[in-house]
Amino acid sequence: MTLPAFLQQCVLGLTSGGFLGLIAVGYTLVYGTVGLIHFAHGDVVMLGGCLAVGLLSLLAPFAFDPLVGWLMIVLVTISCGFFCGGLNMAIDRLVYRPLRQAPPLAPLVSAVGVSFILMNVGLLWLGSTDQAFPDLVTNAGSPALRSPVTMADLVVLSLVLPALIGLAILLQRTRFGRSLRSVAAVSRVTTPTGGADQFISATFFLGGFLGGVASVAASIHTATINYQMGYQTGLYALAAAVLGGIGSVPGAIVGGLLVGLIRAFSTVVLGPRWAAAAVFLVLIVILAFRPEGLFGQKRRERRPA
C-alpha cells in the first residue's frame, strides 16, 4: 500500500470511527446507568438522519454559498441533537421506566419493539430505498481536489470534534458529568427515586443528543440514508462500545475509532466483503483476552431472570 493510500484509509477510518464513537457513547451511557443494551439507539440515530434530510432538503435552495451551507448543517445538527435527545428521553419515559422492577430481560424485548417501531417510521418517512443526502458544501470542490481528505471528511470532523470536546468538558467540569462517570464506573442505579429518574432521563438525553449529532455526520459520510441504516450502524457502534469496555465513555470513543480503522483497512487488504467479519473477529479476540474490553472495569455478575 502506498503512503497516500494509507493516509486516505486512515482519514476515512477515523472520520467514520468518530461518529461511530459518538453513537457508541449512547450505548455505553445507557448501559452504565440502567444496565440495558439499548437496541433502539441505532434507530433513534436513523430517525435523526431522516429529520436532517427533511430539513436540509427544505433549506438546500438557499445555500448559495458553501459557508451558508455549512452554517445550515450546523443548525440542522443541533436540531437533530435535540430531536434525538428528546426522542431517547421519551422512549425511556414511556417504555423502559415502567419496567425498572421487571425481570432483566423484559426491557431488552421492549427495546427490540421500539427498534421495530422506529424502523417502521423511517420506512414510511423515507420509503424503502436509499435516499441521497443533500449536498450542500460536501461535494463543493472535492472532485478536483485529489487529496486524501475530502470536503465531506472535513465537515464530518467539524461536527464530531466539537461534540467530543463538549462531552469531555461535560464529564470533567460538571456535577452531572462527574456523577455520570462514577455511575458508569461503580454500579447501575437500582433505586428508582425521583432524583435517579431525573438522572436517567438526563443520561438518555445526552446519549440521544450525541446520537443526533452523529446521525448528521454519518449521513454526510455515507451520503445516503435508508431505514435500515440504524441497524447496520448501530451494530458497529455496539461493537465499538463493547470493544472499548461497555460503561466507559473514553472506551466507547476509542472503540469507535478502532472499529472505523479496522473497517477501512480490512476493505483494502481483505476485500470489501470481509470488513464486517474482520471487525467482529477482532472483537472476539480482544474479548477472549480482556472480557471487560479495553477500558472497562471488572463487573459483577448479572443474571438474566
Binding site: 443494551i37 421487571a102 430481560l105 431488552l108 472480557p291
Partner: protein, 356 residues
C-alpha cells in the same frame, strides 16, 4: 400456593396434547394446509424448535445468547453440503440431519469453552459477535457455502423412494403437509426430550447453576460441565431446526437470513412466552412468528379480496405497518406481563412467595 400451582400443571399438561392434537388434525380438514398455510405453519414450528433450543441456554441455564440463528445456519449448511447433487457426498437426508446435529453440538462446545468465564451481558455480546462472524463466513466462503446464492437444491427426505406408487420426494416438495408433519413430529419429540431433561438431574443442575452458581458448586455440581452441556444441547437443537428448515425450502438461500435479526426475533419469542417454560416458549413463538408469518399475509390476502376489482387505487395493506405492529405488541406485552405470558412454574412460585 398449591392451588395456583396445580392450575398451572393442568394448563401445561392438558393444553399441550390438545394443541398438538389440533395441529395434527387441522391439515386433514383444511385443504389449504397442503399449500401456503402448511408451509407457513411449518416455518413457525421449525422456529419453535429453535426457540426451545435457545430456551435451554437463556431460560434453563440463564446464559443470555444473541446468536442462536448462527446455529440454524451451520446446521442447514451442513445438511446442504452433505446432500446437494453438485457435491460428491450426497449421503442422504437422515444421515445428513444427524451429522448437522453433531456438527452444531461440536461448534456449540467450541464456542462455549472459551466463553465460560464471560458472564451475563458480555456473553451476550460474544454470542452476538459470533453470530455475525458465522453469517459473514457463510456469505464469503463461496467455494463451500455457495455464498449469497446459497446451496441448492437440497433433495427432500425420501428423494427417489417410491412407496405404493407415491413418490416420497415429490410429495415432500409439492404438498406442504409432508414437511408439516415432519416438523410437528420433531417439535413433539424435542418437547418430550426437554421435558425429560428438565426433570432429570441435568435439568435440575442447569437450574441450580442459573439460580446460584456458587451454591451449585458447593453441592458438588461441576458448573463448567453443566454450562457446556447447555451450550451443546441448545446448539444441537438449533442445528436440527436449521437442517429441517433448509430441507423444507430446498436451498440454504441467502445466509444473511441467519443474522442478528433472526436471533433477536427468536429470543424475543422466548422471553415473550416466559423464560424457562416450554409451553411459554411455544406460545411466544406462536404469537410472534404466527403473527408475522401466518396472520399478516392472510389478512392482506383477505383485504385484497374484499375490495372490488374496479378499485382504482392500490389495495390497503398491513404489510407496510408490519414492523410497527410487532413492535407495539412486544412493548405492550412486556409492559403487562414482564415475566412472560406463561412463566415457568418455578418462576411463578418464586413471585408468588415473594408476594406473601
Amino acid at each position: 400456593m398449591s392451588g395456583r400451582l396445580s392450575d398451572r400443571w393442568w394448563l401445561a399438561n392438558s393444553w399441550e396434547p390438545a394443541v398438538f392434537g389440533l395441529l395434527a388434525v387441522a391439515p386433514l380438514i383444511i385443504p389449504e394446509f397442503a399449500g401456503g398455510l402448511g408451509g407457513q405453519f411449518t416455518t413457525v414450528m421449525i422456529l419453535g424448535v429453535a426457540a426451545l433450543g435457545l430456551n435451554v441456554m437463556v431460560g434453563f441455564t440463564g446464559l443470555l445468547h444473541l446468536g442462536i440463528a448462527a446455529f440454524l445456519g451451520i446446521g442447514g449448511m451442513t445438511l446442504a453440503i452433505l446432500t446437494v447433487p453438485t457435491n460428491p457426498l450426497e449421503i442422504g437426508f437422515l444421515p445428513a440431519v444427524l451429522a448437522s446435529v453433531g456438527v452444531t453440538a461440536a461448534v456449540g462446545l467450541f464456542l462455549g469453552a472459551p466463553t465460560l468465564r464471560l458472564r451475563g451481558d458480555y456473553l451476550a455480546v460474544v454470542t452476538l459477535v459470533f453470530g455475525e462472524v458465522v453469517r459473514a463466513l457463510l456469505c464469503n466462503l463461496e467455494q463451500i457455502t455457495g455464498g449469497m446464492q446459497g446451496l441448492g437444491p437440497v433433495p427432500p427426505p425420501g428423494a427417489g423412494v417410491i412407496v405404493g406408487g407415491v413418490d416420497l420426494g415429490r410429495s415432500f416438495i409439492v404438498d406442504a403437509r409432508w414437511f408439516y408433519y415432519l416438523a410437528l413430529a420433531v417439535l413433539g419429540a424435542v418437547v418430550l426430550l426437554l421435558r425429560g431433561i428438565e426433570r432429570s438431574a441435568l435439568g435440575r443442575a442447569w437450574i441450580a447453576v442459573r439460580e446460584d452458581a456458587l451454591a451449585a458448586a458447593t453441592l458438588g455440581i461441576s458448573v463448567t460441565r453443566v454450562r457446556l452441556s447447555a451450550f451443546a444441547i441448545a446448539a444441537a437443537i438449533a442445528g436440527l431446526a436449521g437442517s429441517l428448515s433448509v430441507a423444507s425450502l430446498g436451498t440454504t438461500g441467502d445466509p444473511n437470513a441467519f443474522g442478528f435479526n433472526r436471533s433477536v426475533a427468536i429470543l424475543c419469542a422466548v422471553i415473550l412466552g416466559g423464560l424457562g417454560s416450554i409451553p411459554g416458549t411455544l406460545v411466544g413463538v406462536a404469537i410472534l412468528f404466527g403473527f408475522d408469518i401466518v396472520v399478516i399475509p392472510w389478512a392482506d390476502g383477505w383485504l385484497q379480496q374484499l375490495q372490488p376489482p374496479t378499485w382504482r387505487t392500490e389495495p390497503l395493506s398491513l404489510g407496510s405497518w408490519r414492523l410497527a405492529l410487532v413492535g407495539v405488541a412486544l412493548i405492550v406485552m412486556m409492559r403487562f406481563r414482564p415475566e412472560g405470558l406463561v412463566p415457568s412454574r418455578r418462576l411463578a412460585a418464586e413471585l408468588h412467595e415473594a408476594r406473601q
